[in-house]
Structures are given as structure tokens and as C-alpha cells.
Symmetry: D3
Subunit: 120 residues, 6 copies
Amino acid sequence: MTENKIERFKEERQRLNDIVMKYAGLEIKRFWNLDSRVYKDGALPKKVKELLGLVASLVLRCDDCIMYHLIRSHEEGVTDEEMEEALAIGLIVGGSITIPHLRRAFDAWDQLKKSDANKD
Amino acid sequence: MTENKIERFKEERQRLNDIVMKYAGLEIKRFWNLDSRVYKDGALPKKVKELLGLVASLVLRCDDCIMYHLIRSHEEGVTDEEMEEALAIGLIVGGSITIPHLRRAFDAWDQLKKSDANKD
Amino acid sequence: MTENKIERFKEERQRLNDIVMKYAGLEIKRFWNLDSRVYKDGALPKKVKELLGLVASLVLRCDDCIMYHLIRSHEEGVTDEEMEEALAIGLIVGGSITIPHLRRAFDAWDQLKKSDANKD
Amino acid sequence: MTENKIERFKEERQRLNDIVMKYAGLEIKRFWNLDSRVYKDGALPKKVKELLGLVASLVLRCDDCIMYHLIRSHEEGVTDEEMEEALAIGLIVGGSITIPHLRRAFDAWDQLKKSDANKD
Amino acid sequence: MTENKIERFKEERQRLNDIVMKYAGLEIKRFWNLDSRVYKDGALPKKVKELLGLVASLVLRCDDCIMYHLIRSHEEGVTDEEMEEALAIGLIVGGSITIPHLRRAFDAWDQLKKSDANKD
Amino acid sequence: MTENKIERFKEERQRLNDIVMKYAGLEIKRFWNLDSRVYKDGALPKKVKELLGLVASLVLRCDDCIMYHLIRSHEEGVTDEEMEEALAIGLIVGGSITIPHLRRAFDAWDQLKKSDANKD
């Protein structure tokens, strides 16, 4: 995975969100709002909440959802060891059927880490 | 999504159906037949049945199935409001994990509507 | 299934909803609200929306959700034929893995119909 | 699990099948027929087909479906070792989320084996 | 849910684990071992790992798995607010189909909290 | 599907496995090991085990997993008739939602068979 791919993911996500909002009624808009609220700092810190979203996305095998929570986890300063332990739980809970998603998750994580290195 | 993409979807679907039929035994052929029969007009109109197939496809998160039922719903004259309400039910039942599929669904729907406009 | 079982289902559902509300924060409360809003009359009538919720629940194989939408569909005047056609779509989309839930759905539906007859 | 429980499972299954058939239209009836046909002897022997149905049921986490294929596998003479290897594949593919079902599967299998011993 | 129910859950789980181990080969035993290892303290604390297991279990809708991680989260000192925020993420990710499981989760949590009060 | 596509699948799988192993701790490595062990010859022959993995992958709708077990089944000498019967079970268990995956499975199988013919 190239850094470019992560940027394209974000752009396509924005383009599609705009189309959803063109058609969305009140319920869809409220759901969108709820979906951002539950990841805010609270009794549990944002970092933990992103990992909860990430593992839920891995066991449900949704690549776009995994990518989103990987990017957010990276922004929240999740370390390699924390990421590996969270993904290992997802793998054990969800089984080998999650492996193709786990592979793509580590590939994207590897790219996110490399883009850090490039910034130094 | 471009109009072209919808056409390519239909062509690829046909090409692959031909390969399935090359190998299919009696049970697979009968299942194919059942799969078209359950969407025929009956006590429930075809339009409602396509929406039932669409929402089932959304909560099970199958992009190809969603696309097929979107195209069929469009042919049956489903309006923007009806489509939005059906997809909103799928989103609430299935949760945020359906959002990437919901985005692609509205993108395809938007294209189907634009192709209508082009015909005028 | 006895009529009693349907009443017990409703009572237990209420008891548990009260416990959820004892702990629920704003997001869970808002989700509960959205979950009732999407089934209101709109461009699609309530009856169709209950069938959408029912088929989604069948393919996702959630007995409690199926029971709830069966009761609501019955209240909205869904006929035997409409119910059968909706469940047939769920069976074809979801496969034989839905059969245990389909059996319990028809069992509950049969009881709901018998309770009608008793009222006459 | 007691032997009694396996008998009650079979009786309840029959009672519910009768209710399904009371309401079933042509499509549901044809699906029922297909669902028995695919497990008949063919290029693959019945025993292997029951194990395919069993592992599919385990990874999809359907207790009734697992129970049915366990009983059928037992009738087809599947050994303890073959059963253990098939279930191990289901566990690895499906992950720890299948464990509650795996526990109940071995419990039922243990009962089926004990009922054999009682016959001697 | 009564305190008794939580005790019965633990006893039945132990009884069934013993039956699994009677039949288990090396792979199933190793998986059992892995399944306990991934929740040990590491870069992420045990408490967070139990919440990861809990949310994964909620979105995959496995009552026994939810119950197990609730009991473990309670042992690790998770507060009501932390529990509510974790379950809210599961609800938003997994949708209304998780609600019956969410209800039973809060019911068990409520019992676990009451059993604390009884100890004082 | 072209022969090239199967080769690219294998190469990409290897590239991604290397990235996983760069980050993997002991648990992920052990899981990888278990995932290869359960498909070894035992009381059930390798061929049957690959078909068990294939049908589990089809009903869970994981294209990469299906592709992997198709390639392995082909190496183990599975015939067209055996493949068709195994996939038919997956279709009946998993329903029409598996059809897009079934189509791609037969497409890949067709390519694997053609590549045999080219070797003669």
C-alpha cells in the first residue's frame, strides 16, 4: 500500500459522504452524528474507543471501517505493540476468516508508520 | 460512479452467470430459478419485493446484491424518498458497519437518476 | 407457541428496556429514538417498513427482532400471503441457515392468527 | 445434554416443520426439497456432505443446524477423530466466537456416543 | 437476571469445557491456550483487552461471549460509565440487531453490580 | 479471470504475509501455525479438509479465503463434480447472498482447469 492510497481513501470517502448527504433524511443525518459522538473522549479515552471501533470492524470484516479506525488510531498515537495486541484479539475472536483483512490492516499500518518516518 | 460502471456490472454479471451454468448441476439451476421467482408480483408488489431484497442485501453487506436490487428498484419506479427510507431502515438495523455499502448504494442511485435525466 | 409466550416476550422486553435506560447515556437514548422513527409512516407505509425490518431480522437471524416485527406486522394488518412472500425472500437471500428462525417465525405467526380467531 | 434432549429436538423440529408447511407457498416448498437433495450421495459421499453442512453451520453459529448435522453425521458413521478434525477446522476458520457452539456440539456428540453404548 | 444465573453460567461453562477437552486434539487445545493468552496484560492493560473482547462479542451477537467478558470486565474494575461507553460503540457499529444482546448485557451488568452491593 | 490473476493473488498474499510477520507477536504467529496444521492429513484426508475450508469460506463470504481453498482443492485433485457439489451445499446453506462469491469461485475454478489443459 502506498501513501497515495491512504489519501485516495480519504478523498473518495469525502466524495461519497457528500452524495449520502444529498439524499439523507433526518434519521440518516442523526445516525451520522451519533457515529462521531460515540468516539469522543469520555470515561474511556479516545484512543481506547478507536481500538474498540477497530476490533469491531475487524471481526465484522469491513475493510473501509478498519482503514478509518487505523488512521484515527494512528492520529491518537497508538503504538505498534498496542496495535498488534488489539488486532490479535480480533484475529482470535473472529478466526482465520479475518486474515485477509488483518493482512490489509497491517499493510496500511505499515504505510502510516512509513509516512511518519518521511516527515522526520 | 459513472454510467459506464453500471453497464460493466451488468456485463460482468452475465459473463459470470454463463460460467456458473457451465458447471451447475440441477440444484444450483433450481436455486437460480427460485431466486428469480420470489421477486415476481404476488400478494406483495414487485416494487416492495425489490426493496425487501435491497435491505436484506444492505444489512448482509453484499455490494453486488445491493447494486442488482438498486437497478431493479429503479426499473420499478422507486422514488428518491422511498429509497432513502428503505436504506435508513437498513442502516439502523445493521449499524455503522453498513455505511461503506450505504455510501456506494447512494453513489449508484445518484448515477441511475442522472442517467434518467440524460434520457430526457 | 402459546399466546402466553407472546405476552411474556413483551413483558420481558419492557423489563429489560427499563434496565437499559437506567444505564443509558445520550447516544444510546438517541439510538433508541431513531430506531422507532425509521418505522413511522412516510413515503413508504408503516406496513412495508415493518416487513423491511422483518426480512432484515430474518437474514441476520435475530429471533427477538423477528418476533417484534411479526407482532408489529400483525398489528398493521399484514395478510398470510404477504407474510409468506416476505419470509420466502428472507429464506432465499439468507439460505437454509435461516430455517430454524423461519420455523419459529411461522410458529409465532400461527399463534398471532389464532389469538385473532379467539377474539371473534 | 440428556438423550431426552435429542429426542425433544427432533419432535419440536417436526412440529415446527408442519406449521411451516401449513403456510408455505411453492418457493418455500421447493427450497425445502433442495435442502434435502444437496446432501444425497453423489460425487461426494453423504458422510462428507454432512460434515460440510456441519462446518458451515458451526462458522455461521446456528445451534439447531449444528445439532441436525451432528445427528446425521452420527447416523453416517463419522468417528470421534473425524468429528474432532472437522470441528477444529470450524473453530480455526470461525474463531473463539464459535466456542459456545463448539461446546454444545461436543456435548451433543458425547450424548450420541453414550446412546450408542447403551444400545450394546 | 438473578445472581444464581451468573453462577449457573459459570458452572455450565466448566462442565462443557471438560467435555470439549475429552475430545480435543492438539489444535483445539492450542487454540484454547491462545484464547486466554491474548487477554493478558501487555502494552494494553487487561481491562482494555476485556472491553475489546466484549465489544467484538456484542457486534458478533454471542450472548455467552458477552457474559464472559462482562464478568471479566467487572473483575477488572470497569465502571458503569466505561461499560456504557463501550457498549454504545458496539450498538452504533452493530445496529439495532444487537439490541436484544445489549438488553441482556445490561441486565447481567446490573446483577453484577447488585452482587457487589450485597457484599458490603 | 486470467491465469495471471491467480499468480498475482499468490504474490500479493506472500507480500502481505511478510508484513504481518514483521509486526506479529507470539499469538498471531501461533495462530498462523494452527491455521496450516488443521488442514493436514489426519482421520479426514486433506482433500476433504480443503473442501470444509472452502464451504466455510463461501458461507462466510470471503473471496480471498475461497480463492485460497480453490487453489488447494485443485492441487489435491478435486474433480469438477466434487467441486460443484461442495459449492451447491454452500449456496443452499448460505443463500443467494453467496451468489456473487459463487460466481467468482466458478470463474477461478474455470481458470484453474484451463491452466491444466495448457500444460498438456
